[in-house]
């Protein structure tokens, strides 16, 4: 079973990215995929949206799986692994989650083995410069943890902005593959799927 964590700040487009790629991921790999969604509110919105799109979703609400809901996440992951026997579990944490903390919590996981964990981090091209100034350290933590960094919403910014974001990511010691996309108009979504499918 593979774990795919799709992280990124609030409003960066995590749910849209999952919705835009998961169909192709399933089609190309023929593998069983389950999504675990963590929303901050008491009634999860993202899980409901995915449900509308026909996805099999397990929801965790009223907190964040990288801290207060860590044990719940581990328990949910174990249940999902045992009950559904998925090949891939896609995890969408809240936008304030530190992916590294989620990875650390996996140390307490005692279910069917996880063969590989990958972290995709979505960054919002429109607000990136503002967010780097306001939340540099936690944003840096997300970026540093990422195997793949997806600069999303590039349909709303110019090329110079995208170039500047890439430079800033490099300055922040990003080591993951960087890809610029728009989940809304489909730009480079095929490349994201290629990355998702790689070595699945």
């Amino acid at each position: 079973m593979e774990l795919l964590i799709v992280a990124g700040f609030l409003g960066s487009g995590k749910t849209t990215m999952i919705l835009s790629t998961i169909g192709s991921l399933i089609e190309r790999t023929k593998k069983k995929v389950v999504v675990i969604v963590n929303d901050f509110g008491k009634i999860g919105i993202d899980g409901r949206i995915m449900d509308k799109y026909g996805l099999k979703v397990q929801e965790l609400s009223s907190g964040c799986i990288c801290c207060t809901l860590g044990p719940d996440f581990i328990q949910t992951l174990k249940q999902v692994a045992e009950n559904f026997k998925p090949d891939i579990v896609v995890v969408e944490p809240t936008g304030i989650a530190d992916p590294e903390s989620i990875i650390n919590s996996l140390g307490y996981y005692q279910g069917p083995p996880v063969s590989r964990t990958r972290i995709f981090v979505i960054v919002d091209a429109v607000r990136f410069s503002v967010l780097v100034k306001a939340l540099e350290r936690p944003l840096k933590a997300q970026i540093k943890a990422a195997d793949v960094i997806i600069i999303n919403k590039i349909d709303e910014v110019d090329e110079t902005t995208v170039r500047d974001i890439k430079k800033t990511l490099t300055d922040l010691h990003a080591t993951g593959t960087i890809i610029a996309t728009s989940a809304t108009d489909g730009t480079n979504m095929d490349k994201v799927v290629d990355l998702l499918v790689s070595r699945c």
């Binding site: 919105i45 306001a134 939340l135 540099e136």
Partner: protein, 149 residues
């Protein structure tokens, strides 16, 4: 990313129209509501909008998902509502920095009453965090700082 000035509000808004409304009308109303809420939060002191998002489900099967990530008033929506909508259920999450939860609640209440309550429609707001809105988030490294860093 939880700093002392982070605030989260979750609410459910139920709107009942006396007469069936067109999907386009209700959709426009929802966009205006989200837009006004985002602008209102900015005016009320939010230093950074994290995410204001909602899912609207109608009695006749339509649904709409709307999202705002700044206080400019720009709202992105997907999904659609059908003609003949009499009743909608809206679940709203507001996650932002720089203003307290009570102020968010006031902004949401004002936006929804101003836009959606009339002789032709009735609005009920339910606070979904009423028992547990003191989010005890344990991102220790940021908890004692005020500059988000």
């Amino acid at each position: 990313m939880l700093t002392p000035d982070f605030a989260a509000y979750a609410g459910r808004i139920h709107v009942r129209f006396k007469k069936p409304r067109s999907g386009a009308h209700v959709q426009s109303l929802m966009q205006d509501f989200m837009s006004r809420t985002a602008i209102g939060c900015g005016e009320a002191g939010a230093s950074l909008i994290g995410h204001i998002k909602c899912i609207v489900e109608a009695d006749n099967g339509g649904y709409l998902v709307c999202s705002a990530t700044d206080s400019s008033g720009r709202v992105r929506c997907r999904g659609s509502l059908k003609d003949g909508t009499c009743d909608i259920d809206l679940v709203l999450n507001v996650l932002l920095y720089g203003m307290d939860r009570e102020r968010i609640e006031e902004v949401v209440a004002r936006s929804s009453k101003d836009l959606m309550e009339s002789e032709e429609s009735k609005v009920e707001i339910e606070d979904l965090d009423v028992e547990e809105h003191d989010h005890d988030h344990e991102h220790g490294e940021d908890d004692d700082e005020h500059d988000h860093d």
